[in-house]
């Protein structure tokens, strides 16, 4: 039998590995596994009742009113994902390109663009709530000031504009992240390749679409995947800016809020159901895992070894 000798080095490594491993097991693996387990039971408050098989899953997917709520929240997540893809990643790419080309003031802007990422989500949320205030908000005051007063809205107070307004706040908050990742990708492109392109064309459009974009593919994989996971786990901003019910009228409801409400209840309804909540959590987890897996493998295939 091979003997496991505890040398000084072995002890040292063990001492370093065990605490984080225990932490991950306790706070990540255990909750996920238990959520899977909870989803198959009927619950009354914190009391576990009978094993009900797939009934909780059936309820959240096919039984009204859960069915409509699920569809509504999912639809909003899809909107958030595509809107952020354009606003956050698209803008991030353009900003990264501008910073990379060392336009005047690039040093200052490199920091300025990333600064909001460092801010706490709570601060960003309250800041934008103030910005969007119908009477005193800087958005409406500015619009009135430049003669566009007819555009002033109660941004967070009406179904048509609430979700979009929160998305803009999110994009402002996080745009520095894809910018940074894209910028790092661009800085990895050898300068002689860029010189070679300049010998063949002076069109920025050709340079971006045919050379820079394909060569930052590894960065795109990272930001696309993370954005996807982030968009379908979205919680903090809509929670603070739109409330737990996704006000007004569910227009800012997303899967994260909907899951929280279902599992833990809310102030007005007070009703809570761990079984349905866990079923939702499991569905969200599986959906994100599968799609993120597909995105990653598909995009990886397109990556180029520089």
């Amino acid at each position: 039998m091979p003997q496991l000798r505890m040398t000084g080095r072995g002890l040292w490594i063990t001492a370093l590995i065990v605490p984080p491993l225990a932490f991950v097991a306790l706070f990540i693996v255990y909750p996920i596994v238990s959520a899977f387990a909870y989803a198959f039971f009927d619950w009354q408050g914190l009391k576990r009742l009978d094993f009900v098989g797939l009934e909780n899953f059936h309820t959240v997917l096919f039984v009204e009113p859960y069915r409509s709520w699920t569809i509504n929240a999912f639809k909003n997540n899809v909107i958030v994902f595509f809107a952020l893809m354009v606003l956050q990643n698209g803008l991030g790419f353009i900003l990264a390109y501008a910073l990379w080309r060392e336009l005047p003031g690039a040093r200052f802007h490199r920091i300025a663009v990333f600064l909001p990422v460092v801010l706490s989500t709570i601060i960003v949320a309250y800041l934008f709530k103030l910005f969007y205030h119908p009477l005193f908000g800087v958005v409406n005051i500015t619009l009135k000031g430049i003669g566009l007063g007819w555009l002033a809205q109660p941004w967070l107070g009406q179904s048509g504009t609430a979700l979009g307004s929160i998305i803009v706040a999110q994009a402002w908050h996080m745009v520095g992240f894809p910018t940074l990742v894209f910028l790092a990708g661009m800085q990895r492109i050898p300068s002689e390749i860029l010189d070679a392109v300049r010998m063949e064309t002076e069109s920025e459009w050709v340079k971006i679409t045919k050379i820079v974009w394909p060569l930052v593919a590894p960065s795109a994989t990272i930001v696309f995947t993370l954005l996807f996971v982030g968009a379908f786990n979205w919680f903090e901003l809509p929670y603070i800016m739109g409330g737990l019910d996704g006000s007004p009228f569910g227009s800012t409801d997303v899967l994260g809020l909907y899951f929280y409400r279902t599992a833990f209840g809310n102030v007005s309804a007070g009703q809570q159901d761990f079984g349905l909540g866990s079923a939702l959590a499991v569905l969200i987890f599986i959906f994100i895992a599968i799609v993120a897996g597909v995105i990653t493998t598909r995009l990886r295939a397109r990556e180029i070894q520089l």
């Binding site: 002689e192 010998m199 002076e202 069109s203 060569l215």
Partner: protein, 354 residues
């Protein structure tokens, strides 16, 4: 047709002057090599001609047309980069087609040009490969092919052989020489390797510290170097420079004997330039030459080089036959073949003629 004319070209990076006024004429179909030590400004000059960096001062004409403000892609110039700079996400065919398509050529024309270039450079079998699947020599040929399909007036090559191993280097050197004969364009080639310069060039431009030291054919540079810099830069092993004082028709080294070298220039103090084949070594110390001590001998098979230290500390290199080897610390006497020495001013290093 491509004639290049550089007039008073200067380049400044922030406050540092890199090129101090370059005047140079390059004729049609010429193969010109810029050669010089690292940091002499030869690559900078090439980038100014390409248009990759702006010219700070002076004028650059291509066929009598001022090019200073013309973007690189419209100068009719193609460049082969040191690292090849192939587009890693495109296969060989696409790498060559990219620039050709941007020139607005028809699909058939692009295909024909690539087929021609591929045949000339033996790339036919590699057209579907990605750059990372190619060897260094193959990448080099693709980079040249990419320049060829654009049919430029001028080819610029920036140290194209420096990433190849020694064996491949001489092969590719021959191919480049052949290519120049076949396509007949004007080529400007940058290197720090004087052997490449000597073997390839119609005209060599020797640069040092942002200035042109001399322009001429390989033979001119070797036989009549304009100054001590060119004299020691061209030729291997390098020319030995000895500080000598004139004593009648002999030249003397301080405490180290004197030597007769034939007709002498006027000046009293000179720098005597001796190529390895201009001197003869004799065993033992006699009065009829410069006394020296052997440091070591390089045996090269067909001949040998002996390095010996003169009385004033100068290291002298001499070519001998492989049958005539010298042991370290052996005392020798150096004589000079009449008429084969070079003379330079002791003050500014310029060439002096007898």
């Amino acid at each position: 047709m491509a004639r290049l004319s550089l007039r008073g070209i200067k380049k400044r990076f922030k406050t540092t002057d890199v090129l101090h006024g370059i005047d140079l004429e390059i004729g049609d179909r010429e193969f010109v090599v810029f050669v010089g030590p690292s940091g002499c400004g030869k690559s900078t000059l090439l980038r100014l001609i390409a248009g990759l960096d702006p010219i700070s001062d002076g004028d650059f004409f291509l066929n009598d047309q001022r090019m200073n403000d013309v973007p690189p892609s419209r100068r009719g110039i193609a460049m082969v980069f040191q690292s090849y700079a192939l587009y890693p996400h495109m296969d060989v065919y696409e790498n060559m087609a990219f620039g050709a398509r941007l020139m607005g050529l028809t699909k058939d024309e692009v295909e024909k040009r690539i087929a021609d270039a591929a045949r000339m450079l033996r790339l036919d079998a590699l057209l579907k490969r990605k750059p990372r699947e190619l060897s260094g020599g193959q990448r080099q040929r693709v980079a040249i092919g990419r320049a060829l399909v654009r049919k430029p007036d001028v080819f610029l090559l920036d140290e194209p052989l420096s990433n190849l191993d020694a064996a491949l280097r001489s092969d590719v050197r021959l191919e480049i020489a052949k290519l120049h004969r076949d396509i007949g364009g004007t080529m400007i080639y940058v290197t720090h390797d004087q052997v490449e310069a000597m073997t390839l060039a119609d005209k060599i431009v020797v640069m040092n510290a942002g200035r042109i030291e001399q322009v001429g054919s390989p033979r001119e540079l070797y036989e009549t170097p304009a100054n001590t810099f060119v004299a020691t830069f061209i030729g291997s092993p390098r020319m030995t420079l000895v500080d000598v004082a004139r004593d009648g028709d002999r030249l003397g080294v301080a405490n180290g004997g004197s030597v007769a070298t034939g007709a002498l220039p006027e000046a009293k103090n000179l720098k005597l330039g001796l190529r390895p084949d201009a001197v003869k070594l004799h065993r033992g110390q006699s009065g009829e030459g410069l006394s020296a001590t052997v440091v070591y001998t390089e045996y090269l098979g067909d001949n040998a080089y002996v390095y010996a230290r003169l009385a004033d500390g100068t290291l002298l290199s001499a070519r001998t036959t492989p049958n005539d080897l010298f042991a370290p610390d052996e005392a020798v006497t150096v004589t000079v073949e009449p008429g084969s020495a070079h003379y330079f001013s002791a003050e500014d290093g310029r060439r002096l003629t007898p």
